[in-house]
Symmetry: D2
Subunit: 343 residues, 4 copies
Amino acid sequence: MIKVGIIGGTGYTGVELLRILADHPLVEITVITSRGEAGTAVDDMFPSLRGRVDLCFVAPDDAALQECDVVFSATPNGVAMTYARRLLDADVRLIDVAADFRLKDPATWQRWYGMEHQCPDLLSEAVYGLPELNREEIKKARLVANPGCYPTSICLGLLPLLENGLVATDDIVTDAKSGVSGAGRNAKMGNLFSEVADSIKAYGVPAHRHRPEINQTLSQIAAEPITITFVPHLVPMVRGIHATIYASPQAPVGDIQAIYEARYSDEPFVDVLPANSHPDTRSVRGSNTCRIAVHHPGQEGRIIVLSVIDNLVKGAAGQAVQNMNLMFDMEEKTGLAGLPLMP
Amino acid sequence: MIKVGIIGGTGYTGVELLRILADHPLVEITVITSRGEAGTAVDDMFPSLRGRVDLCFVAPDDAALQECDVVFSATPNGVAMTYARRLLDADVRLIDVAADFRLKDPATWQRWYGMEHQCPDLLSEAVYGLPELNREEIKKARLVANPGCYPTSICLGLLPLLENGLVATDDIVTDAKSGVSGAGRNAKMGNLFSEVADSIKAYGVPAHRHRPEINQTLSQIAAEPITITFVPHLVPMVRGIHATIYASPQAPVGDIQAIYEARYSDEPFVDVLPANSHPDTRSVRGSNTCRIAVHHPGQEGRIIVLSVIDNLVKGAAGQAVQNMNLMFDMEEKTGLAGLPLMP
Amino acid sequence: MIKVGIIGGTGYTGVELLRILADHPLVEITVITSRGEAGTAVDDMFPSLRGRVDLCFVAPDDAALQECDVVFSATPNGVAMTYARRLLDADVRLIDVAADFRLKDPATWQRWYGMEHQCPDLLSEAVYGLPELNREEIKKARLVANPGCYPTSICLGLLPLLENGLVATDDIVTDAKSGVSGAGRNAKMGNLFSEVADSIKAYGVPAHRHRPEINQTLSQIAAEPITITFVPHLVPMVRGIHATIYASPQAPVGDIQAIYEARYSDEPFVDVLPANSHPDTRSVRGSNTCRIAVHHPGQEGRIIVLSVIDNLVKGAAGQAVQNMNLMFDMEEKTGLAGLPLMP
Amino acid sequence: MIKVGIIGGTGYTGVELLRILADHPLVEITVITSRGEAGTAVDDMFPSLRGRVDLCFVAPDDAALQECDVVFSATPNGVAMTYARRLLDADVRLIDVAADFRLKDPATWQRWYGMEHQCPDLLSEAVYGLPELNREEIKKARLVANPGCYPTSICLGLLPLLENGLVATDDIVTDAKSGVSGAGRNAKMGNLFSEVADSIKAYGVPAHRHRPEINQTLSQIAAEPITITFVPHLVPMVRGIHATIYASPQAPVGDIQAIYEARYSDEPFVDVLPANSHPDTRSVRGSNTCRIAVHHPGQEGRIIVLSVIDNLVKGAAGQAVQNMNLMFDMEEKTGLAGLPLMP
């Protein structure tokens, strides 16, 4: 059994990791930390885990963490980088579900996250944990930067177009919609039920931290610098991201449906829907699947890609477990076979 | 008192007309028809109107309708055109809240609505009831085509840009999000609570009936043919439309915030928010206001316009009453002063 | 024009008072206080009020408040009692929308609210502002304790039964359901969208602060001590309270529908539905109406009363304005005629 | 592998059976029928099952069904009784997830379901599939009547009280709240999102079909006739039932928490929460667990039991699979270990 530790287990990513890992046949959760809830039984805070997770939160504890085979960091941004060096030195692999290791350039990171990076030397070693792009590197990684939820949905939606050079790289618009759980389990007035329900709004139009991450990944895929237009929206639902992507073909693009199906035919967690489909986010609720539909109305004008994920699974905890499976040479789908909850 | 009739009062537009008109100081509702509910008391079907609307639905009845000063048709598409000629001949003005008179070209109408138009000669007479664009014509109109909900939010969002020739007319993307009431009060499985709640999806990507209407109006504004990219989405909320509009400046555009504020400074129902705002749909819930925010991050790249309305008010019944006020030379805001319900 | 002040205008009761008072033809809001938001424009915080409320929040300021004719206190519990004496001494009438003056016994108040009462002598003067019970006293009051939302819905539901001695006073069960706005506009984790949506739960089963208030009022009505069983529930909706009341007839009760209709026939804000009705909370959303249905299945066993209100209107701000109208000898419905927003 | 057939697979119970059975290691779904959707691929209708269920709906077909080991009937009421005799004669076991075999008395059944029962002789053979009550009988059954969702939550909540004779049997009030999926996947106007969202209402106060079923089961448990007061409510959530039960102790009841814990200590799917808990329905969303909290404030007055289930799992498809496991001598939890989806 692989020994797993979780740093910061009281947020939505933390409880989702617990949900998934509690059913994973090859791992054992040995330690889960929380500075504020040390001593609290995990299932007192999360009754949904009663009878299945028999742990208490403990204060952050290097000794216990260093006995793990792998540690997931599900903390706010800026915490994982304070543990990373010591864990790696103790031969513990680290999967950061926050953003500390996602950007390659320390200066860019500092600009967007408002603090100095504490181990910039590890940024180049860290592997960006999008298996559909970097599977082989992930298998060999000590340190994985788990992608953000928006970047996952958008990059999977654009991958076949950019790999094949089919669209103009300077004319991509992505209009993304997220459920409220993406904002985390923090007591913020703006995320109260009465503030968010029965309404929709855009946010972060001038700037959103996922933008440089998206641009970095798309630029890697296209092998040229890309800057997209990106507007996120807050939708009155708990889980789910829906990315609507508008791209302009460079030239006649041929059978775009076939291109998508071919690209993802061997991917266990990307499902290309039949032509003319409109995926809803509930079709992936609770599962690690990304469902994609591609449209090219009249074979002219913009290509429109619809890409949906569960932000807490493929957009966070599920993809982190997928990465762990790869890093420890387990079957990639282990523990991730649960079907979406619909309705 | 102006005598008002309503054809087809059992849908969401019908009940919203009743809500607004019941508080309008200068009108009297004299007849409301419903083929299926003739004889039913209106407030048996809509208890929210108890004590305020003391009418029964009656079968469609030319005599009663022809004694009205104005008739609102809140029926499905294809019904108003069967009444229009007789009402106009009886000197009754007609405001069609459905789509029968929105498109100028009968062939286009037939292609999108799947039936032959029964009075194509009236299409040229009909005035498109967007007061911010056609106020003077509306004042003189006998027949007003009340705009669709998506077109209202999108055209108001783009009006200042297109009137001033500021953006490329061949590169406009509009990603729109609607509450479920926009789908009407019909027993369709796809609009059940359990099908729609806690989820989001795009729909109608290959084709949506509001697209030709949007293109027609934008082309009128810009005085050149425009075809936009338009994708609507279904959001788990009852009311509200949020249009996110992406447009490419043709040249340095100057102080775009000032341009918007100037264009709408005298408009009673368009509110330009301060710079860097993100309107939520609840800020207009139940009111006839359109709130708009305009962004031009870094003064480079695309201009992003956020435009919100209540689809049942400014997107339907409220705008219809605004048009009636104009047609009968009443103060434009009469009966439309109710504040948004927030939260 | 009556000069109105509001203490604590940043919560949901505060913004609802603003919504209602902004449309009230006989009042002028002259001051609105907020310790934390002094200097902020009201419509910056609440864009729904743009163009209609042109005030800034100011720090609590005795001089400004003492120039008002009436002050609404929409603060947390324990604040109004620190202002009451000074306001009354300055001939300013006070309507406390919180709980400081609802209980007649200072010891009971202290036990439930966890602090010592600062002006217990005013408790006997304060009039409990349920117009259907205490209309004449309200008209003469200087100090009105506006009822809680649960007590309003429950007491109106039970009034005809208890006034007529029809049911056993020791066998009343009230199962109540509230929307989330009842929990206020405070950044609490338990009221986050992702904690509350798509779920229901009971809360406060061992003890809820509205219980002594309900018991006190029901005991006044019945003229004997009453202790009810009361369980509140949190429902994933923004507004609305639904009280389901179970009472055991003492003897044959006769035509209970007629009894309810007679009791409330002259009440402007209580609507008794026809027999066999099931009111939904949306039928009163945004309005000051309480709708009640009474059932006595088979004329045997328990009487079941269904009572719905909008917790922010008849359960808070609307009832407060109704009380103000009575205190200043205005028509009771002034400013409260808005119809429910449905759907 | 056990061969499973499903009659009527297009409703919410049908798709939930598919979700659970697709992950069940010891069964194989061999046939799924739908009169209206014959020929449609199951995953065309339910994209959440793509890649996991590779079947098409077929027209009802005795031959195919008779080759199964067990058939689940997930049809509307009145259909299973037309298949039952032929299936049993072919040695196929039948689990009816609808109501055809729940009531023992044919006359009562006919009165509540409005049709004549077609195989009243099977009513006595049918075992009521509540494992916590009838486990041994279920193991030997050919025909299981799967309980309704309300009855499951209520009977599990009352079982320890009634088995031990602790409460008055003529003074039980149950106020129950259900998510909208309980109303089924039928195109009914009353279940549209815009009719149900942001609102709550009671329904069926004069009469609800689950009442005789509840009374029958509680009478069996108590070994005396019981008639409860029962009011169901419709809550704007997809899944979940919350039963709030009020019962009057007959005498000092002792440590009621310990009584509940002892009664359910060996039950795999009933979880008694610690004292003073308030279960929310999301804590069981997607799982087969019933969570119960019991309160006795002040050790006086009524006992209050809070009981939550997922109506589609423990209230329908999950309990049906639990029954199948028992009937085929499999470990009771097989295929039912999935954790709740929270948030």
